[in-house]
């Protein structure tokens, strides 16, 4: 399964900037690009539990392709969300089920962030992505 173009871009970006500053500045930029949820769309049912920041996630279907939108009140978390979404968006539910998320985050140098015990809740977000995709 080849990478979506957007995912390839984020991969290049993060691999080019392995330093603490570079990586995090890149993440912050990625987060800024995330379309921000209008506050009236931040409803309870889109809230992902288990995150230390508030994370909203919703899913829309275009044909068989799924499109996720997400936001958070924390900027770095938004960057992490962007990394997930750029990898997920445009895939079908079947394709999504086969994404190797730990591998993806390892490639980005962000593997640690996916641990189930992390307060950032990234693991919870991935679970929600999969649950939403199964529900479509």
């Amino acid at each position: 399964m080849s990478l979506p173009a957007a995912a390839q871009q984020v991969l290049n970006l993060l691999q080019q900037s392995p330093s603490f500053e570079g990586r995090n500045r890149a993440l912050l930029q990625l987060g800024n690009q995330l379309p921000s949820f209008a506050s009236e769309r931040r409803n309870e049912q889109d809230l992902v539990h288990g995150c230390d920041s508030q994370v909203w996630l919703r899913c829309a279907q275009q044909g068989t392709a799924l499109h996720f939108s997400a936001s958070s009140d924390a900027r770095l978390i938004r960057g992490l969300l962007a990394c997930l979404l750029l990898r997920a968006n445009g895939l079908t539910a079947a394709e999504l089920a086969h994404v190797d998320w730990p591998d993806w985050l390892t490639q980005l140098g962000l593997k640690q962030q996916l641990s189930p015990s992390r307060a950032n809740g990234l693991n919870a977000v991935v679970q929600r992505v999969l649950a939403l995709s199964r529900a479509t």
Binding site: H49, D52, Q112, S115, P116, S117, R118, A119
Partner: protein
């Protein structure tokens, strides 16, 4: 053979102590000591909702133990495993959390073999809810009488609580059959595996029980840690019992919402190092040839029974199937025997073994219990028999008039 894996045994031997009380608590394998030492010397952290990598590592290791316990007992899901302070706390959790389900006139089915831990919480629950304790009769050999048992189930039966292996008689109980009866009659089943899990492979799904309880310290693990297994569909419906940090979702001044099981039952800082230590003990056990262990323990048990049967005046209680034997001696008080055995370095249990109702049922004031483990050896039993003979020589002497 395995006894070199338990550093305390050499230390005890050097002091002339023969440890035959593993049913009370087991000695610890070197792997456990190493795991504790490693954790405590490499950096501790509190678990769950980790904000930094040390806490993440510790939490991951902590949660890995949950997986390993689930595998060890054949649970269907990791979130069916709750860590408690002890088996005792697990029973109390159940008796309080199930309270809303028990109504006046309901019947709780118990055996007279039960350890106080699997008796008193139900006795108190029955008192709080005006429910009735109903007693499963036991046979002369110390087994629950299945014919009689099957007649005791009725529509009022709400719960069955039985031990898998009696801590006094060493008898293995027909738990699978009893749980099947409970299921047929719509009653919940609680199995006390505190002794059972130590001496045989456990598969909670094959047993068919709703809840299964054991203590780590008897399973070559650390003290301060118990395990409650609960069938997911039931456990996830139980209300929380203790309240505090980590088990909540939202808290306001007026109210609170709680995590799903198992975290909702693990309020506050859990016994983290004990959980990591249990993980090491389970890894140690998993690497053993468990059928070789079973054969070893069976041979020791036979040696023990034969030896006791050869001694005049000695009467075994029930007919042990595994790991431990209780006995009384005609005209000899168990307390006197205990004292003389202790003087000779023999560590065995004496008294009522936290099972007063059973002792009353058997009509004895107390007994002496010899219990075995995978690290026990024939030489331990030889030393025990020599000490027993010395003690009985004195105690069975005619009193000088």
């Amino acid at each position: 053979m395995w006894h070199n894996d338990f550093p305390a045994l050499a230390a005890l031997a050097a002091r002339g102590i023969t440890y035959l009380d593993s049913a009370a608590t087991a000695q610890k394998p070197a792997a456990l000591l190493l795991a504790l030492q490693t954790y405590l010397s490499q950096g501790v952290a509190n678990v769950h909702r980790a904000g930094y990598r040390l806490a993440d590592e510790v939490t991951t290791a902590f949660e890995a133990c949950r997986d390993e316990v689930a595998t060890f007992i054949g649970a269907a899901q990791r979130d069916e495993i709750v860590f408690t302070r002890s088996a005792t706390e697990a029973f109390n959790l159940l008796a309080y959390a199930l309270e809303p389900q028990i109504q006046a006139g309901d019947e709780l089915l118990l055996s007279p073999l039960e350890h106080h831990a699997n008796l008193l919480p139900w006795q108190q629950l029955a008192a709080r809810r005006s429910a009735t304790l109903v007693w499963l009769p036991i046979t002369a050999s110390g087994h629950i009488d299945m014919t009689a048992a099957s007649k005791l189930f009725n529509p009022r039966t709400k719960l069955l609580a039985v031990t898998q292996l009696s801590n006094v008689l060493g008898t293995v109980q027909p738990v699978r059959e009893l749980c099947a009866l409970a299921e047929q009659h719509g009653a919940l089943s609680v199995v006390d595996g505190a002794q059972g899990i130590v001496h045989g492979t456990v598969d909670v799904r094959a047993l068919g029980c709703d809840f299964y309880v054991f203590s780590a310290h008897k399973l070559y693990g650390p003290d301060g840690l118990g395990v409650l297994y609960g069938r997911h569909s039931l456990l996830s419906q139980l209300p929380p019992w203790q309240f505090g940090g980590e088990m909540v979702q939202q808290v306001s001044r007026a109210s609170a919402s709680f995590q799903a099981a198992p975290l909702r039952f693990e309020a506050g800082t859990p016994p983290i190092s004990a959980v990591l230590a249990l993980r090491a003990s389970l890894a140690y056990l998993r690497a053993l040839d468990r059928s070789a262990v079973a054969a070893h323990e069976a041979a020791l048990l036979q040696h023990l029974k034969d030896g006791l049967d050869q001694r005049a005046g000695v009467r075994r209680l029930g007919d042990s199937d595994a790991a431990l034997v209780s006995f009384v001696v005609d005209a000899v008080h168990h307390a006197d025997l205990a004292q003389l055995l202790d003087e000779q370095g023999i560590a065995v249990r004496s008294g009522q073994h936290c099972a007063h109702p059973l002792m009353a049922t058997l009509g004895v004031a107390g007994s002496t219990r010899v219990s075995l483990s995978l690290y026990s050896q024939d030489a331990d039993l030889e030393r025990f028999f020599t000490a027993l003979d010395n003690a009985l020589a004195l105690l069975q002497e005619e009193p000088t008039p």
